[in-house]
């Protein structure tokens, strides 16, 4: 059997935030299938445990682990970093979205979404670096979005600005950590079939699909495969890149 696989994640340890569902769970599954072990974190304790149980066994000899944490809470974030062994990959994937027209934005909602989507990934990256938990040759991947970075849409101002923030942070970290042999990139999905887009009606979704040349939204796996590529040594010379995975949505 030909074992050539530059996309292998064999022996790597990957920390995934927002692990209890959607893109996070699909990423965990893909990483394990490619030979990694995963450490999942999420704020939803029951869903996180159920996800961990549903995953295949790690082939690395070390078990997959999970740790419940609210990453907007400094103590819980610090506890996660202490719990975490040294990692080869980080997938900052946890995020929320709420559509609000600009004149209805409240400071509370703005602050809540910024803390989850922007502050938490920045502070988690900071703490992992400070505690020297990221191995040389490591790879950081942020789930950004086509929103904000490539396209804006009505009512999505808060979410879009947090994703622009992630884009700028991702490129900054790529610049700072390149000399240490650590890479940093993002995936930028359009609409993905996850709970995040639950606020759209079926009718809205069907209409929105007409904006996608491939005439469907992404499945979580479509994004997970991009993340796995960026975690793998196949992307050894790729850093500071925003990888659009949007079915062609932003072309027109």
């Amino acid at each position: 059997m030909n074992s050539y696989n530059p996309f292998s994640l064999k022996g790597k340890t990957i920390l995934i935030t927002g692990g209890a569902g959607g893109i996070g769970t699909a990423t965990a599954q893909t990483c394990i299938e490619l030979g990694a072990r995963v450490i999942l974190t999420d704020i939803r304790e029951d869903a996180l445990r159920a996800t961990l149980e549903s995953l295949p066994t790690s082939m690395t000899g070390e078990p997959n682990l999970c740790f419940t944490a609210d990453l907007t809470n400094a103590e819980q974030l610090a506890a996660l970093v202490d719990f975490c062994p040294k990692i080869d990959g980080l997938v900052c994937n946890a995020g929320v979205m709420k559509l609000t027209l600009t004149q209805f934005i409240t400071e509370e909602e703005l602050s809540r979404i910024q803390k989850i989507n922007l502050n938490a990934p920045i502070l988690l990256t900071r703490s992992l670096l400070k505690k020297k938990k990221i191995n040389k040759g490591g790879s950081l991947v942020f789930t950004a979005s086509a929103a904000g970075v490539y396209r804006v849409s009505i009512g999505n101002g808060i979410y879009a600005t947090t994703k622009c923030g992630i884009d700028a942070f991702m490129r900054t970290v790529a610049l700072e950590l390149g000399p240490k042999g650590i890479r940093c990139n993002s995936v930028n999905p359009g609409m993905v079939e996850t709970a995040l887009i639950g606020s759209f009606t079926e009718e809205e979704k069907e209409k929105e699909k007409l904006n996608y040349p491939l005439r469907r939204f992404a499945k979580p796996e479509d994004i997970a495969f991009g993340i796995a590529y960026l975690l793998s040594d196949a992307s050894s010379f790729v850093t500071g890149t925003a990888l659009k995975i949007d079915g062609g949505m932003t072309l027109s």
Partner: protein, 78 residues
Amino acid sequence: MEIKEFIEHFAEQFDDTELSEFKPETVFHELDEYSSLIALSIIAMADEEYGVTLNANEMSAAVTIEDLFNTVKAKAGE
């Protein structure tokens, strides 16, 4: 403020340099791993640990780790 502790904080900013290389008399600009990014880390460390803002001139004027320690110590006492 102890020089031993200062050297530990100084060394934490490096990844590849052996701990035994960090002594009071080490000419830190000549360490292979020393770079402008590490210089920024050391400036941030001095701010975080000692509440001292080092400027670029003070960084280049210090030859050894002990020189830098003395600069930080003097400024911390101001």
